[in-house]
């Protein structure tokens, strides 16, 4: 059944893909026998046949995932999306701390172990990736605004605690509210 549903969805996508290839795509002028539309047309036809094949001879009945597992998977997905959402506003260290701690608690770690793991992942990850390897990872939005205003041009990537410039009056309010909702909603 799961196979059939998936094959059905895929057939619809293929039909749409093929429809676009057969109607919408065309070059304004061309000298080659095959234009930009030919290859997608071929792919659409072959994929349609394969999809039909699976529709008529499916071999996977169900996904075989138990209910508690579904809950865990959906929770994981929500956490991942939350991590992506908070990645820039909170910066790498804070968002990674939250994500690592919450996920490991969800998967069965003790709270203080998880907190330690979160600190280690955020802190060491930052040290390793930003300080040592000089990769580009997000700073917390508040600090970033500080830097933008202090207008220092040094690209020296030593992100120590910023100087004692007072936070700008336009502190993004949404970061704080988002943090609280995340902590409340996912645990």
């Amino acid at each position: 059944m799961a196979d059939r549903i998936f094959a059905g969805v895929l057939l619809i996508v293929t039909l749409a893909y093929g429809a676009i290839a057969f109607t919408a795509i065309s070059a304004p002028f061309q000298y080659d026998p095959l234009g930009p539309e030919s290859w997608p047309r071929i792919l659409a036809v072959v994929a349609f046949l394969c999809g039909l094949g699976i529709l008529f001879r499916p071999d996977v009945q169900g996904l075989g995932v138990a209910k508690p597992t579904w809950v865990r998977l959906v929770a994981m997905l929500v956490l991942l999306l939350a991590y992506a959402e908070l990645y820039e506003p909170l910066g790498f260290i804070a968002s990674t701390f939250l994500f690592a701690a919450v996920v490991s608690v969800m998967l069965g770690a003790r709270v203080h172990h998880a907190a330690f793991f979160g600190v280690a992942a955020g802190g060491l990850g930052y040290l390793l990736c930003v300080v040592l390897l000089e990769l580009n990872l997000p700073e917390p939005a508040i600090l970033e605004m500080d830097w933008a205003q202090s207008d220092s041009v040094d690209d020296d990537a030593a992100p120590d605690a910023p100087a004692d410039t007072t936070p700008a009056d336009t502190t993004p309010a949404d970061t704080t509210t988002e943090t609280t909702t995340d902590e409340g909603g996912t645990d």
């Binding site: 070059a27 080659d32 996904l63 995932v65 998977l73 991590y83 990645y87």
Partner: protein
């Protein structure tokens, strides 16, 4: 011969450069570590670490040396979790559990680990020697390939993919088609017409290769780990003081040689990698052992040596079509090939002439890497064994963190983070439905090459499709494609008939 020697000299010049030498070590070490983690295999390791390696700003040959080290290092490391935990790191290590774990249960874990390290070393080294000898020849021949021949080569590649990978031929083909269709998104390079972009500026240049790779092989794997998460702790058997004996090697020497050759040639076949190689080698050895084959599965040294030498040889073999034809020999080499494309290096027959430092540097680094792996693996196996006990609850978030770091550090676009998560869900569903993911990435990597060559061939002929079967090279490739599809079907049918006959005679 002369070209080989001068090539090797160039290669060792590159590989012995301090930076590259340390990258070989780091790659092999990290690879073994990743391979040893239950649930993570070479393809996941390379996928997760590729964006980070890219972000480091290394020159292409250094990045490739690092990634290749992770690749064959993980093939080495996979045996550790197979032997000690009975949990294969990935599909290619399944066969290792059959005889490796029983040996560990008998209190011979040290012997099993050291024997498999030696077998892996022979497999890996033999493969590199074969690449060194035949790579340049194949590349010199492949230079003569016309666009029409390339089309035939692609058909052959997808035919062998469909027939040898995965459970269902239709599903593997459909997986490859999904990859090919994803590759058509973006501006058509020949005419400048946007295809399937729906006006989104983010995908005008096509879907980023890194995002597809990390999504399908990093995030999907993470969801798989969450799904499979077991409540209890996996119990690792202790590594004891036993060690491989000369008697074992004497018993297994022909096995190792045969399996290495089998592994290499299966690795060379486009699209089929270590999992097929180790299965075929194990089956062959079991049959070759005759009556003795009964002992396979209870801790036979040959049953352990066969899959290990085969999967390491296939990792080397898979590099051959990547370096000489620009067609990956396995899912992991598809990722390496995509990595080369990101560095603006066009893999293919001309690479031997135009970018010798990349090709030969990689080959030379594989000699060094195999020696390094043997040296790392014999004394440090206890350390790697301890990695096995890292609980999944810490490993799982770590994968996501690494994937996010890698993807974000490329262009700093948070939209990409959602994209990899959603692709991860898609990949997980595909996996649940018995689709193999390697064909998807192969299709994605080969998509534009396939299309370009088809269009070029027809431009040459002025729209006459008969050019596709115009010369002996393409015709013989089509015949090979037919053979590769037909033989397994025929063999399965014969086996079924034999089984029926046997069942019939038993009934009588």
């Amino acid at each position: 011969m002369e070209t080989v020697l001068s090539g090797l000299a160039t290669g060792f010049g590159v590989a012995l450069h301090p930076l590259n030498l340390s990258l070989v070590m780091i790659g092999c070490f990290a690879g073994t570590l990743i391979g040893a983690l239950p649930g993570l295999g070479p393809i996941n390791g390379v996928a997760i670490l590729l964006p980070i390696a890219y972000g480091l700003g290394l020159p292409p040959e250094s990045a490739l040396i690092l990634l290749a080290g992770i690749y064959y290092g993980a093939e080495y490391g996979g045996r550790i979790s197979s032997i000690l935990l009975n949990v294969p790191g990935d599909a290619s290590a399944v066969m290792t559990t059959l005889d490796g774990h029983p040996m560990a249960l008998k209190g011979q874990a040290g012997r099993a680990l050291s024997l498999s390290a030696v077998a892996s070393f022979f497999g890996g080294t033999l493969a590199v020697i074969l690449i060194t000898m035949f790579g340049p020849l194949l590349a010199a021949f492949a230079v003569t390939f016309s666009p029409a021949d390339y089309v035939a080569l692609m058909v052959f590649a997808f035919a062998s993919l469909a027939s040898l990978v995965g459970k269902s031929m239709v599903k593997t083909l459909l997986g490859a088609l999904i990859g090919l269709m994803l590759a058509t998104i973006g501006i058509d390079a020949n005419t400048g017409v946007p295809r399937y972009t729906f006006g989104l500026p983010d995908i005008l240049a096509g879907i980023d290769f890194l995002i597809v790779v990390v999504g399908l092989f990093g995030m999907a794997e993470l969801l798989h780990l969450v799904e499979q998460q077991v409540a209890g702790k996996l119990k690792s058997l202790p590594v004891d003081k036993t060690f491989v004996r000369m008697k074992d090697l004497a018993l297994a020497k022909w096995t190792i040689l045969r399996s290495s050759l089998i592994g290499f040639f299966i690795g060379v076949l486009p699209g089929t990698g270590a999992s097929v190689a180790s299965a075929v080698a194990y089956g062959t050895e079991k049959r070759a052992a005759g009556v003795d084959g009964e002992k396979f599965g209870t801790g036979d040294v040959r049953g352990l040596a066969a899959p290990e030498s085969a999967n390491n040889a296939s990792a080397g073999g898979a590099m051959v079509p990547m370096l000489t034809l620009g067609i990956p020999g396995s899912g992991t080499t598809a990722i390496l090939l995509g990595a080369l494309l990101m560095f603006n290096v066009q893999p293919g027959p001309l690479m031997f002439e135009q970018r010798p430092e990349i090709v030969w540097g990689l080959i030379a680094s594989m000699y060094l890497g195999n020696v390094a792996l043997l040296l790392i693996n014999l004394p440090l196996v206890g350390l790697f064994a301890r990695v096995l006990t890292i609980p999944q609850r810490y490993l799982t978030p770590l994968i996501a963190i690494l994937a996010f770091i890698g993807i974000y550090s490329i262009v700093g676009n948070p939209f990409d983070l959602y994209l990899i998560t959603l692709l991860g869900v898609f990949g997980w569903i595909l996996r649940k439905l018995d689709f193999a993911l390697a064909p998807v990435i192969l299709g994605f990597v080969l998509g534009s090459l396939f299309e370009d060559n088809l269009r070029r061939a027809l431009s040459i002929s002025g729209g006459d499709w008969s050019i596709l079967v115009g010369d002996w090279k393409s015709v013989s490739l089509y015949i090979l494609a037919l053979v590769v599809v037909a033989v397994p079907i025929w063999m399965a049918r014969r086996a079924r008939k034999a089984a029926q006959a046997a069942a019939g005679s038993e009934r009588m």
